[in-house]
């Protein structure tokens, strides 16, 4: 080994420059930024269009997980209400193939009807399982085996509180250390008012003060224990359950949280040690928040955000309404605001209304203004139709990797 090293110096072997750049283009944002300190030309790599084009290509196509099967994409879409019955229809489709050309319709587990209002809470599958919800019932569902498990209500739900709490899903993930699936949610109780008690035939005097005002809480469900327990943390919460607000990767649940002031932050909750990290949103984006109120029909916003997982990296898609451009920034390191790095600028895409998720290899799924669902290939910059339509915020896509193991 020593002899070799010596010989190396003698023969002055160096990796040729184009090969060096090719190697550098495969590094993470953090490593690449660090090696920018090696010499000036490397410091300017982020400004080199040729290099960045190579880099972007690797971001999309690098295989982080050694998966031998081609992951499919799952879409929960919502047909427009049928004119006569005024019912909704929720369906799930599995798209597979390089260009998402194979479409398979999945059937809900026997508990659900297609006319139910069903929400898909997680975008990507975790070991082949998806979390879906109908009204207040959450279930783990494995579409391949059609196995499902109903999550029981928590003590907080079934306890004596005289009114229904407001529950918001925050995360679904897998703790590999304990081999356990977890679900996190936030529970709010409105102030008790006398009209709540009337239908229950309870008088105001019989209610203790503790029942009138209950502080909000965090709850975490463990599949192994099949029970909920209170989480003793104080972290920013998310007020939406739609797509674009939560992602899961590597044992951590992430969501867009409301922090102090109008600005959002990324909350990253570690399922293993139950600690969280806050990362402020990128500061270079003009913050004009989009808020679509469920009670309002009208809305007015200039920029919308979408939290996604782009080939394993946490990314933010920012959509500028007026210019119809999409900017995609990747997070370099949790907790570091300046590590958000803008990598992709795509557009103009005038007919596109909103992203609905990301598939394998950086394929971005979008909903057009005419409700047509399409996908955008970041490599070829081509948009293609999927052949189905969807409505409102009920469309959601993610990566589905089949797993035939039992959920136990």
């Amino acid at each position: 080994m020593d002899a070799k090293a010596e010989k190396g110096k003698v023969s002055n072997h160096h990796i040729p420059n184009d090969l060096t750049l090719s190697i550098l283009s495969k590094l993470s944002l953090k490593s690449l930024k660090r090696f920018g300190c090696c010499c000036k030309s490397w410091g300017f790599l982020f400004e080199s269009p040729h290099f960045m084009s190579m880099y972007r290509n690797n971001v999309i196509s690098n295989n982080h997980t050694s998966c031998y099967d081609e992951p499919s994409v799952i879409i929960l879409h919502h047909f427009p209400p049928l004119p006569i019955t005024d019912e909704f229809m929720f369906s799930v489709f599995l798209f597979s193939g390089e260009r998402h050309e194979n479409k398979v319709k999945l059937y809900w587990p026997p508990l659900f009807l297609e006319t139910d209002y069903i929400q898909m809470l997680s975008s990507d599958s975790i070991n082949g399982n998806i979390l879906v919800q109908r009204q207040r019932m959450m279930i783990f569902w494995n579409p391949s085996t059609n196995e499902f498990k109903v999550i029981p209500p928590s003590p907080v739900e079934s306890g004596r509180s005289f009114r229904d709490p407001m529950i918001r899903f925050h995360g679904f993930g897998y703790d590999h250390v304990r081999d356990d699936y977890k679900v996190i949610r936030r529970v709010h109780f409105y102030e008790l008012i006398s009209s709540d008690l009337d239908p229950l035939n309870v008088s105001w005097e019989d209610v203790s003060w503790g029942d009138v005002s209950i502080p909000p809480l965090w709850e975490i469900y463990s599949l192994k224990r099949n029970s909920w327990r209170k989480l003793d943390v104080d972290m920013p919460e998310c007020y939406h359950e739609n797509t674009g607000f939560h992602v899961y990767t590597d044992g951590m649940c992430h969501w867009r949280g409301e922090s102090v002031g109008p600005e959002e932050c990324l909350v990253s909750f570690d399922l293993i040690n139950e600690a969280f990290i806050i990362t402020p949103m990128p500061s270079d984006i003009d913050e004009i928040r989009a808020f679509i109120s469920s009670t309002n029909d009208e809305f007015d916003f200039k920029m919308d955000r979408h939290l996604v997982l782009l080939n394993g990296s946490i990314a933010l898609i920012s959509y500028y309404i007026e210019t119809t451009f999409f900017h995609i920034s990747i997070l370099g390191e949790l907790g570091v605001q300046k590590s958000w790095t803008k990598l992709f600028i795509i557009g103009p895409l005038p007919y596109v209304y909103t992203p609905i998720g990301v598939g394998k290899k950086g394929d971005i799924f979008l909903r057009q203004e005419d409700n047509e669902l399409v996908w955008y290939n970041l490599n070829t910059n081509v948009i293609e139709k999927l052949g189905i339509t969807g409505m409102n915020d009920c469309c959601r896509t993610g990566i589905y990797r089949e797993n035939l193991l039992l959920l136990e």
Binding site: N12, H13, H14, K26, L27
Partner: protein, 230 residues
């Protein structure tokens, strides 16, 4: 599977099917240029040999090869190699690794070709591994899972320095798949290293002034945390 063994006497090593496929591909490539392809690899002094004279000889050869390297003109290379390749002109299409007078030749033959790809100072050990890789590639072609597994094991057994040497050689031999595999592995191997380590690894000269470097480190403080100590 073929292996290149070390020996000072001349020997012929023939890669059968694997070699022929490679040969055919390379020949097709060269056909337009109407040149033969002769891969010349200078055999590195083995660990057993300790003669300083041969070391000097080889050193001279290295210098000579370096000079030829800088000039990428294939015509010039062709001239130099004509003396050697003449012997093999009549032979059939196959890759030959021959060690003659301390020079290892890997020849690919066809009709009316002449070209030399210089690949210098590769230890026979690494050369053997490259050839093994190539043979396995062809053998496992189509069986994705086995191929992936083989590749994983292949790179796991290599040190960063070995990968560096190998990638330079593979680059010259135009083995795209091996280069891609190695560049991924090297990227993975250096990702947590310090700036100093990487500078030395790639032979990069620091052209920042101390102030400039300080400013860079300060501005990007987050990238300098949680990395390996050399």
């Amino acid at each position: 599977m073929a292996e290149a063994t070390e020996s000072s006497s001349s020997q012929t090593l023939t890669l059968k099917r694997a070699g022929r496929l490679r040969a055919e591909r390379l020949i097709a490539e060269r056909q337009r240029l109407k040149q033969t392809l002769t891969l010349k690899i200078v055999k590195r002094e083995s660990d057993e040999s300790s003669s300083s004279q041969t070391a000097e000889e080889e050193f001279k050869k290295l210098n000579v090869k370096e000079g030829e390297d800088s000039n990428k003109s294939s015509r010039k290379d062709g001239e130099k190699s004509k003396k050697l390749s003449k012997k093999e002109e009549e032979e059939a299409t196959r890759i030959e690794v021959r060690t003659v007078d301390d020079v290892t030749l890997v020849d690919v033959h066809g009709e009316n070709f002449s070209d030399v790809v210089q690949v210098d100072s590769v230890s026979s050990h690494l050369l053997g591994q490259i050839l093994s890789y190539f043979a396995e590639q062809t053998r496992l072609a189509g069986e994705e899972d086995d191929l992936k597994k083989y590749e994983e094991e292949f790179v796991a057994a290599l040190s960063l320095d070995e990968m560096k040497e190998m990638i330079i050689t593979a680059h010259r031999l135009r083995m795209r798949k091996l280069v891609l595999l190695l560049s991924r592995s090297i990227a993975n191997g250096i990702r947590n290293k310090t700036v100093e380590f990487v500078r030395e690894f790639f032979g990069v000269v620091n052209d920042y002034t101390p102030d400039e470097e300080e400013a860079y480190r300060k501005e990007n403080d987050w990238v300098f945390e949680n990395i390996e100590e050399n």
